[in-house]
């Protein structure tokens, strides 16, 4: 029997899944969010906003863990993340 699996009757740890919101009009295309996302969720797009900058686009939405690094490093307050759901860790 593997008692250690449920230490002190604690629930299994869960992974958060985040939902990303981008305010494209406010972005200035600096690329920090793409550079610092640990899960490679974002990529710079070819699209222009009305000021002529390239905002980022979401390429791997399912990988986002709601860590908030993109939100913290964005100098324009144009990207933020909210918690969508929490799923149990596999195995």
């Amino acid at each position: 029997m593997r008692y250690w699996e449920v230490p002190f009757g604690k629930e299994k740890p869960k992974t958060p899944i985040g939902e990303i919101h981008i305010l494209k009009e406010r972005c200035k295309g600096c690329g920090f969010c793409v550079e610092y996302c640990p899960k490679d969720v974002l990529e710079m797009s070819d699209e222009f906003n009305s000021k002529g900058y390239h905002p980022p686009k979401i390429v791997n939405e399912e990988n986002c863990v709601n860590c908030g690094l993109c939100e913290m490093i964005c100098p324009e307050f144009s990207i933020w993340c909210t918690l969508k759901e929490e799923v149990a860790l596999e195995n």
Partner: protein, 286 residues
């Protein structure tokens, strides 16, 4: 325009309907520092009306324009002088001064050292980008030797100020340095500085990719952030280096955190004791 939910903490404290997008260039660190200030205030759960943010003139000094606190956007170099007035008039307000390297150490140098010496309860957040950003890139007292600016086109020969050493020498009670790359650390230091009773300085090394970066071929904004990560080391990591390796590296961390008699409190005590003694005199007369 997309809707911005109120529950996002940044938006609770920003004048985002009127003033955004802000004027700072793409990749400028000033926005990151603004985020750190806001998160620090949100963690402390201070009310917006309890805080006054004061600044002078410069790119960094535009910060009060964007926040929904009591704000004062004053003369170049005089932010600390105005802040001293606010603090003495209403000591219960939390006064934050946002200033640049030129604003605080060139034209406003005397205000800076004397506020530190008097230990007046202000939190000074100094955004050091090594240059006068707003006026097109003149050298400042923190520009490193050899760097090119519009006023030093052949390379700067003036030795630079170490702002934290300057504040320590002037007797500041709380002195810390961090960078815009270390955004969480900046948030923690700002929070500590805000609750510290007395003069507190947080120097934040910032990237000005558009003017300083271009003139000195420092690469794009992410490259400048990377060089901050590599060259600005924690006190512990810095002390481990040999003298040769220390060349070109800067240390970051909290250099001093002490409690000393605070100016507005001392002033208040003096006023009260004088009033009491005058009261006694009046009583004698009647």
């Amino acid at each position: 325009m997309q809707k911005i939910p109120q529950k996002i903490i940044h938006n609770k404290y920003l004048r985002h309907r009127k003033k955004f997008p802000h004027v700072w260039c793409p990749g400028c660190s000033n926005g990151i520092v603004l985020g750190a200030v806001i998160r620090a205030v949100a963690e402390l759960e201070w009310k917006r009306s309890d805080i006054t943010m004061v600044s002078g003139i410069g790119c960094s000094s535009r910060m009060p324009v964007y926040v929904d606190f009591n704000t004062l956007h004053t003369l170049h170099g005089r932010a600390i002088a105005f802040a001293t007035g606010v603090k003495l008039f209403k000591p219960e307000l939390k006064v934050i001064v946002v200033t640049g390297d030129g604003d605080a150490t060139a034209i406003g140098g005397n205000h800076f050292i004397h506020a530190a010496r008097r230990n007046i309860d202000l939190t000074v957040i100094l955004l050091n980008n090594y240059i006068y950003g707003m006026t097109g890139g003149q050298y400042s007292p923190t520009t490193p030797i050899g760097d090119r600016t519009t006023t030093t086109p052949y390379g700067n020969i003036d030795p630079a100020f170490d702002i934290c050493e300057l504040a320590l020498g002037a007797g500041a009670a709380f002195v810390a340095r961090t960078t815009a790359y270390h955004a969480t650390e900046a948030q923690t230091f700002i929070k500590k500085a805000l609750v510290h009773k007395g003069f507190s300085l947080v120097e934040i090394i910032c990237a000005c990719p558009i003017i300083y970066g271009r003139m000195n071929k420092k690469g794009d904004a992410p490259a400048m952030m990377k060089s901050m990560k590599e060259n600005i080391l924690s006190i512990k990591a810095y002390e481990k280096l040999t003298e040769e390796q220390k060349e070109g590296k800067i240390k970051r961390g909290i250099f001093r955190e002490v409690i000393k008699p605070e100016y507005t409190e001392e002033y208040d005590k003096l006023v009260k004791s004088l009033q009491a003694s005058i009261g006694e005199v009046d009583n004698d007369r009647t």
